[in-house]
Amino acid sequence: MTSVGDRAESWRRLAMSVLLCLLYVFLYAPILFVIYASFSEDIVWPFPPSFTTDAYAELFDNSLYSDALNNSLIIGLGSGVLSTLLATAGVIGVLRFPSRRRALILITFLAPLFVAELLIGISSLAFNARLLGLPGNLFSAIAANAVEGTAFAFLIVLAQLVRYDWQMDDAAMVFGASPARCFWEVTLPTIWPSLFGAFLISFILAFNNLEISFYNLGAIPTLPSVAWGSLRFGLGPELFALAALTNGLVFAVFALMYVLMRTGIVKFGYRGV
């Protein structure tokens, strides 16, 4: 009886792992296509293959792309840091110090998840341009992106911290640690992987955001807005080259993470053996 159940269980497990692999194939096929196309001579009709590295040479010659990359990085980092700080403080506030307003605070933090990016983009454009008289600028773009980023960061940190044992902090305080020292020496070492995840997600969302950034920036170029603008004349192969380089870097970081996890040097919050 048990062996039949076990066999069915392992079949289900196999089926699920196949679905997971197929999902990765689906998600990464276009990424591989981008890398492939960045080396091909004709980007509109890339098959059959013929290779060149022209796109990479042009990428480094044209200052538009480095400006766009810089602006995207500024928006990504600014929004990522702001989102992670606001969200982490919010989660600790909500979990550690219960009050009757807790539900309201929770709803406020999660509300941006349920407002479409397009709506955040156009409403902040309308507000800034018509009521405040502000032209498009990087600060508006960082703030508008951080709205969404804060909500995602809040969700991620909350999901990890609901299981956190605050008695550890109480113990530290009993032995005379100040709240700040307690946070740095007790709380942070335990929860940093979820903060890292929250920062990474809010960074990625803002770095490559089209609909929020586009409406808040006016003529300032970012990577997605350059891509959007160049679509009219056909996508520049330089954009494919830049995306290929970005992905190369991301894969290298993931490979490093895999090695660290495999050897157990850094466990990224995993508590098992």
């Binding site: 699920m16 999902l23 998600l27 276009p30 990424i31 296509f33 981008v34 509109v44 890339p46 098959f47 606001l86 403080a89 919010g90 600790i92 506030g93 909500v94 979990l95 110090f97 605070i105 406020t108 933090f109 509300a111 998840l113 349920f114 407002v115 479409a116 397009l118 709506l119 955040i120 409403s123 309308a126 507000f127 018509r130 009521l131 508008a144 951080a146 709205v147 809040f154 999901a159 609901v162 299981r163 995840g197 990625i204 969302l205 490559n208 089209l210 409406y215 891509a227 679509l231 996508l235 954009l239 970005t246 992905n247 991301v250 993931f254 993470m257 895999y258 996890m261 995993y270 098992g272």
Partner: protein
């Protein structure tokens, strides 16, 4: 409490709520030659509710959002379950691998999907080599746009369900088994209801951006795929009719709220599984 959560709450009120209130106000104004004039009227809503085109755009976007959400739901559950239950020490890496495609911008990924499905794309080129006709259903059709939507949004669904499952106590399934429940019954009566909030959040995270989607239908959907989001974007760009665009934004927001409210009624906090939140 206020010191910690206050800044975030204030930030969201200023940068999200105020702009939304602004477009609500503008939706009752009038635009003439790219300028907004504050003469209060209901003309924008009258146009939206009487002109058949806008109704078609909204229904088309809503249908696409429903189909995409259901497809993502079906696919995401087993995947998220596998990562949460069997991912072991690699769980975080497996989840981050779902997020990594976001490092490549939406437009490039859509262009790449076009490069795979399109007339000169990988699939049709390969079919051509074997002397087969190209698959017309994949080129500039609602099906292609739906595949594009699933591609863009399924990682959100998996992540939401995963975040719920990592807080789920899998020992409960052992208890169910000991008490004689088969795997299917244990899933329906224990796993699914206890993870419904996470699943509902995932559904909303797919449904809402899909309802407002503008870029994907524009590049994958073909000539008869104008979505509500595309039309909304045009009001703030090419045509410069900000007041009408604001009214469309209000309608979009109201529609999203309606869907959220319907889903909210299905949530039973006492059976939510977020036991940590109810304590103390």
């Amino acid at each position: 409490m206020l010191l910690l959560a206050g800044p975030g709450v204030l930030f969201i009120l200023v940068t999200l709520l105020l702009p939304l209130l602004a477009i609500f106000m503008f939706s009752f104004w009038r635009t003439a030659s790219y300028e907004l004039y504050p003469d209060w009227n209901l003309d924008n809503y009258h146009v939206l509710f009487t002109e058949a085109a806008y109704r078609t755009f909204l229904l088309r976007s809503a249908l696409s959002a429903v189909v995409t959400s259901l497809l993502c739901l079906l696919y995401a559950w087993p995947v998220a379950y596998f990562i949460a239950r069997h991912g072991g020490r690699y769980r975080l890496l497996l989840v981050l691998l779902l997020a990594a495609p976001f490092f490549t911008g939406v437009i490039l990924r859509i262009a790449a999907l076009q490069g795979i499905f399109g007339p000169g794309g990988l699939i049709n080129m390969a079919l051509g080599i074997f002397g087969m006709p190209p698959i017309a259903a994949l080129m500039y059709t609602p099906l292609a746009a739906t595949i594009g939507h699933v591609y863009l949004f399924v990682p959100f669904m998996v992540t939401a369900i995963y975040l719920s499952l990592v807080n789920f106590n899998f020992d409960l399934l052992e208890t169910a088994k000991i008490n004689g429940a088969g795997p299917w019954r244990a899933f329906v009566e224990v796993t699914w209801p206890l993870n419904w909030i996470g699943t509902a959040i995932g559904l909303a995270l797919v449904f809402i951006p899909c309802l407002a989607s503008a870029v994907t239908p524009r590049f994958l959907g073909g000539p008869s795929a104008t979505s509500f989001g595309m039309s909304l974007g045009q009001q703030f760009g090419e045509t410069g009719t900000w007041a009408l665009g604001s009214a469309m934004g209000v309608v979009l927001f109201a529609f999203s709220l309606l869907v959220l409210a319907v889903m909210g009624f299905t949530v039973n906090l006492k059976r939510s599984g977020f036991t940590g939140m109810g304590a103390r």
